[in-house]
Amino acid sequence: MTNRQLIFGLISGLVIAISGAFLAKENVITWLLSMAGSAMIVLNLIVWLMTRKSQQQKSAMAMATVTHQPEAHPSGS
């Protein structure tokens, strides 16, 4: 998940949640829109955290592979 996608999800979720809450308070609609906006924020944060964690794990594994590789000796000397 890219930062652009995260920002898009968070901003749009926030706008939807706030406008949904306003409209529900005015009795125009039920609280479902506000809940949908809040769910978008939570989902985006969860997926972003999971992506970050898996990237950290991948880079840690890559580092470990590099440090455990035997040094190459020049041949014929």
Binding site: Q5, F8, G9, S12, L23, E26, V28, I29, N44, V47
Partner: protein, 310 residues
């Protein structure tokens, strides 16, 4: 605000799949429901059009056509620049969101009829007009080398796909037959809500079964699948208001703007843009936007139209 009874069938369909219950819904029955809904909407619109004598229809139709060309141009930059999708996938998904869903429209009509709200009788014409332009725009956005465009096949698929053909066919038959439509209306009119309920039961199952395909794109796909219908509905609602439509008409225009195709556009793009990943766009339109519109969107569009019109 109460949930419409047909929407409850959609939720039942989703629930049945999510809990792993087996419902043996014949494939032929689903196809029959689609055929029935397309013909019923077309016939009712054509009959109403035969009794209608307004001069506004041509300018309104042209404006709606322009709206159909504009919608994918709003969706494409979000998918391409914000989502970071490939040009082809962004264009194909933009085409889905620029076109319309007859199922969502049918739910919108059912909600309005249940609440006794009138709308312009010629709306099925707008549904048919909005089916095709987005496919053409999507292809132009996707294909940079124009020589790759298979114009003949594309034109055939755009103009003679099941949705456009049956809707326009029903509309023309209804318009031509006038009062003689009454002889088939007991079937196409009275059974409309019942068939829609069956259709939504199966759509609920289809939507729930696609949820597992979200995977790595889940967060962005969900965000886009909720934001885009709201943008489309807002644009459609404003257009409806500017065209001087009734409360029901503005609501239906918002429904059309907010809906995304899952029948006509995938069929057309499978022929003309085989390299596009249709699974992405189908998951977004079927598993996110359709349920969102049916459960949250349509009551929202109606509530807002009523709120603003006082």
């Amino acid at each position: 605000m109460q949930l419409d009874i047909v929407v409850a069938f959609f939720i039942l369909g989703m629930f049945s799949t999510l809990v792993g219950a087996k419902i043996d819904f014949p494939k032929g029955l689903y196809q029959s429901c689609v055929l029935f809904l397309l013909l019923a909407i077309g016939l009712k619109g054509g009959y109403a059009l035969s009794n209608f004598s307004g001069a506004d229809l041509l300018p309104q139709s042209l404006a709606v056509l322009g709206f159909g060309f504009a919608l994918p141009l709003i969706a494409f930059p979000i998918l391409y620049w914000v989502g970071g999708w490939s040009r082809v996938d962004a264009a194909s998904t933009a085409a889905h969101y620029g076109s319309v869903s007859v199922g969502t429209y049918a739910v919108g009509v059912a909600v309005l009829e249940a609440q006794g709200i009138d709308y312009e009788p010629y709306f099925p014409l707008f549904v048919a007009l909005l089916e095709a332009p987005a496919i053409a725009v999507g292809l132009l956005l996707a294909i940079q080398n124009r020589s790759q465009l298979r114009v003949k096949e594309l034109a055939h698929e755009v103009l003679f796909n099941q949705g456009v053909l049956l809707l326009m066919g029903g509309l023309i038959i209804g318009f031509w037959a006038g009062d003689r439509v009454q002889s088939v209306l007991p079937f196409f009119g009275t059974l409309f809500h019942g068939v829609l309920a069956l259709f939504l039961l199966e759509m609920g199952r289809k939507a729930a079964s696609r949820l597992h395909e979200l995977k790595s794109q889940s967060a962005f796909l969900v965000s886009f699948g909720v934001v885009m219908p709201l943008i489309g509905a807002l644009t459609g609602g404003i257009l409806g208001y500017l065209l001087g439509l009734s409360t029901g008409g503005v609501t239906l225009m918002a429904v059309l703007g907010g809906s995304a195709s899952y029948i006509a556009v995938p069929a057309a793009l499978a022929v003309s843009l085989p390299q596009a990943n249709l699974s992405l766009s189908l998951t977004a339109s079927l598993a996110i936007t359709f349920p969102f519109n049916v459960i949250v969107g349509i009551p929202l569009y109606l509530g807002l139209t009523r709120y603003w019109s006082g």
